[in-house]
Symmetry: C3
Subunit: 467 residues, 3 copies
């Protein structure tokens, strides 16, 4: 069942030497860099027995592992199963969705451990890692998974690896500017992960614009069971989002609060998404695209403010609005972006991550600006915003301003970075497929030759009907 | 591929204004009520720093978040993936199973936070919430998911939302009567969740009896892959059930014990289910319906007693019996209920939740009545049954009597509530489908138009064969 | 859609009395043995209030439940969803893969609680169980799931139960020799679980060699969606493997370190697997078999050493190598094993578990032999290797030697045990299918009769085309 390759603009998608070379060289580089730089942090090192005594810790349960490991595992599931399966909705790109997401994320977390380590965990020439670093690496890769959503089906695995390399780098720089220079709070990453990741991906897909993509239009849809596979991704993202937004918050009340706010926001988001999905369609039927995606906007939109005293009803409001904005986006903005701005956004990340991410940044700025000692308590106020040391004099309104600045910086980094990386990915050496072969697993994968899979190939005129 | 609507009893299933109206109005109501009533509990509030000092807590790890959050996430998965995917077994109702479960649960948890909050967490005019409230809201919604199983495929999303509104309300009243007035123990909800939820749902489906349902008989079965999707639901329910039954037990040994008892009961249940599934079928083959459902009866049946000193062998006995009862139910009772009592129970909740729930209530009553200070220890005995304050004088046998009373109350509430709610749902304004369109996603969902999905439509005479 | 049974070597696969008899008798035996032997351990017993006081524990959070329960649940998912769905890749054996895995694991954990309990938790005539016993039971069953992979599709459920009974027994003996007599460290089970389980399974499948298996060759492949189902298994194994390797490590730094090492090893493994999968195929395309399996070798290969000071870069090296070895195995060794050694290894467990397990044992021996007080700290060194009591005088190099001995013992036990059990399973009384009916769910399961499933039966000449 070899696909005919002699079609019009056939491109060289042969991966046999290029993909292995990139994977192996980069893995060797990771080993060398890890060898030079990465060591266990104090809480993961066998010397911890002594450390514990010095720090007067009476119990092993004080190890950060027990505060964060369950959340880490939830985040891990979101990155690999959540994002991976969310993108399996395409009828013939399930292998690519899950498999390439797996590849880029596995590379990305290694590179993120290094990049983020140099910025945040560097001590005496070594990067000291613990469970919080693992979570942050997963977070960083989350922004690449988001960008992947915009170019899904149109890029080669090598392009994805190249994008991951650059995006992780830029993510870490942007994150450093926000968290360390601007002293911005963004525990759930509305700005650093979603806004940055989405606008980065949208810029890349704009530069990789394919004018003839309608040639593979028949493969851009879903089939019944691929929509169910995608719901696995949706639900795991939805269910574990409280862990995502609380994973690196301060121990105690902050983690607790983040989880509650996110839970509330996501619940509200489902209702407004369902409402608008039905309302915006003539026949009043629900659209799986909205249910799969817009229901998650509520998690994105409280990413910055979840650990603040947003309050449960505040979360409901934010979640409700973001569900509406996201669903409206799928119906009206996505077609507009494609036809007018030539932004081909396969998964609609503009609706799920970009706009809700902006909402999240803005809500975070407002919530911070509105903070009072009365609401937080004297100590809680200082702890929540880390108003210590050089930041002792910051007031809520100033913090709000810096939060807003964080949005702008993230946007600028995303546009500039996306433009550069998009340009690199446009080079004709990476093995991407021709327009008529987009959204098709057979280009890069061995696909089982069977009756059922034949059924999908109805539009392939070269193939005789099955016996 | 528009479905012909001009069939005999075609009904108005147009959702465009009704569904959005209900979703949006109710979400606004939630926002207002949350605004008036819901605030963070002490452990999720930024004032916790001061609280900690007052309570002499030396570590953040004493926050209830760390005792219960991992279990909460497991329960969350059970409600949304577990119940959602368990019901995807129907060949053409996967979207409805997962999607409507998502909708009703997302609304239900908000309303449950309020209802249960007023009864259990109301302090100075505010409902103070923490992770335990989130778990309880999920539990409450679990009972709605169970009832959904009885009417799966036969109701409109609006009917489901209406049912959720009422059922959550009644659940909370029943739970209050049991836990607060009767002072009954029921951590895993054999009575409050399963018995109540199942008999409520069975009463509703009785009242909504559809005499012509055999018109959609061809869609009531599964296909090969839909059975595998359903196994995802089954396994997540099965694996996480130890978290379900232990999630709100007392800290320490009680949570530990609940998990062990449930683990044992479920393991035994699988073996007896397999045995009877093979034995009750002429050809001796296993039936996926039994494996998907009856294997879970062991979790239901130790819901009340798991946190008691049921002992591992006691759990094996309970699990074994419930697997047998449940499988026998699928083979003999379900057809009987349908033909004689006109109870059309799509998922067989009578076998998975109703009968095992009753077993659970009875086992709980017996286990409580058999408790001795010798087995529990003096302090453990008082702690396990909360024999303090006004309940100081309760003896195990009296407690056993109250436990038994809890079963009866739950049954009465379920029958009465189900009858009233069933009557409301029978009004011809909610947009449910005609009998021949039951178990069919196309009524309420945009379904992808593709070859594969065409294959399912063999029985639709109006459609020409695919080219 | 009754399958014709009058084919050449048709065998009696009728399960109606045999399977129920085995299941019920064995469950009764479990109940009796649990009744005689199994009780709650101190931390799960209602007497814990008193225990806590005696041990001067100030908080319920010191209960081992809170140290291990989240990891336990992850391991539980790996056994039931991970292994179960990993094996659903076959186009017509999804029910058997998930369902029989469910059956054997549910029985196995009960028997393992007893066997391991007698060896490790026996006190005053009783086996005292807690969460660590549950994890160990799941681990033990993991080795049976591995062996199941070699004989997948070729055995009856009774054969699987018989194998489970014997393998759990032998596993426990082998584990006792390694952990207690040789005083070997193997927290993630490279030797006890993977090496033992895989070579046991390979020996069994060698003895059950079916010369005519090419008669069912058409069913040994996958279809598009079955490959996606298998990826669910893969990803859950991959994501939760850090929990697997850290689940029973010492509290504190050891658990923390195990998780980090495993995370690193697995990430590296994905890249080298992708590289070699593309490189070893003429067309340079990726093969789902490799992605589904070889990406997991990194978790197996650090099973012994993860809790040691392997260091993150050491983990990357081990993970990289094991990904290569495993992928090369799928391409070259599996066909060789089948054609020359008559080892028919359905899932390729030789590549995923046997070779990486050996690597894991060797890496563990080397890492132990290379340990120094400088690297571990004085106290950490003693704690990590348990060099106390009679083992006080052990040096790292001696420990390394014992570790190596552990590999040899595991291999010997696997070969000897596998030969005996294979011989037992060869008896013609267990109801296994004829060669032409292997890899076919219809033999033991009620399979839905529908259009879609008919599509699979193209090679069945006796069946008329569907109308």
């Amino acid at each position: 069942m070899e696909r005919p390759r002699h079609q019009g603009m056939a491109k060289n998608t042969y991966m046999r030497w290029r993909l292995p070379l990139v994977c192996l060289l980069w893995e060797v580089a990771m080993i060398v860099l890890f060898g030079v730089f990465v060591r266990f942090g104090a809480e993961a090192d066998a010397h911890w027995e002594e450390e514990k005594r010095e720090m007067n810790l009476t119990s092993d349960i004080e190890n950060d592992f027990y505060f964060r490991y369950p959340s880490f595992q939830d985040v891990h599931v979101m990155i690999f199963v959540g994002f991976g399966f969310l993108m399996t909705f395409l009828k013939r790109y399930g292998f690519g969705a899950v498999g390439f997401n797996f590849l880029l994320a596995a590379f990305g977390i290694q590179w993120a451990l290094l990049m983020q380590g140099w910025f945040h965990s560097f001590k005496n020439g070594k990067i000291l890692i613990g469970v919080e670093n693992l979570i942050n690496a997963d977070f960083c890769v989350g922004s690449v998974c988001i960008a992947f959503g915009a170019i899904l089906g149109k890029t080669s695995p090598i392009q994805l690896l190249v994008m991951t390399l650059f995006q992780v780098t830029l993510f870490s720089v942007n994150e450093y500017i926000l968290l360390n220079l601007l002293h911005v709070k963004d525990a759930g990453g509305s700005m650093t992960i979603h806004t940055f990741g989405a606008y980065f991906g949208l810029t890349v897909t704009r530069i990789l614009y394919r004018p003839n993509l309608e040639q593979s239009k028949d493969k851009q849809g879903s089939v019944y069971h691929s929509d169910l596979f995608a719901m696995i991704g949706t639900l795991y993202l939805w269910m574990y989002w409280p862990s995502f937004n609380s994973a690196i918050s301060d121990h105690g009340d902050a983690q607790h609060r983040s989880a509650i706010n996110t839970y509330c926001s996501l619940a509200a988001c489902v209702l407004t998404t369902m409402a608008f999905s039905s309302m915006l369609q003539k026949k009043g039927k629900l659209d799986m695209v909205h249910i799969q995606n817009a229901t998650l906007a509520g998690g994105v939109a409280v990413g910055t403010s979840a650990e603040m005293m947003l309050t449960p009803y505040g979360s409901l409001i934010v979640g409700s609005i973001s569900g509406i904005v996201s669903t409206v986006g799928y119906v009206y903005f996505t077609p507009f972006l494609e036809s007018r701005l030539h932004i081909q956004d396969t998964c609609g990340i503009h609706n799920l991550h970009a706009m809700p991410g902006l909402i999240g940044g803005i809500v975070g700025a407002i919530t911070a600006a509105a903070a009072t000692e009365d609401v937080y308590g004297k100590e809680g106020f200082i702890k929540a915003f880390d108003f210590t040391g050089v930041y002792q004099a910051r007031t809520p309104s100033i913090q709000g301003g810096f939060q807003a600045a964080g949005i702008v910086v993230s946007l600028l980094m995303a546009f500039a970075g996306g433009a550069i990386v998009g340009g690199i990915l446009k080079l004709p050496i990476w093995g991407d497929a021709a327009a008529e072969n987009c959204f098709e697993d057979e280009v890069y994968w061995e696909v089982p030759e069977d009756e059922e899979s034949d059924a999908y190939h109805m539009h392939n005129p070269d193939k005789p009907a099955s016996p």
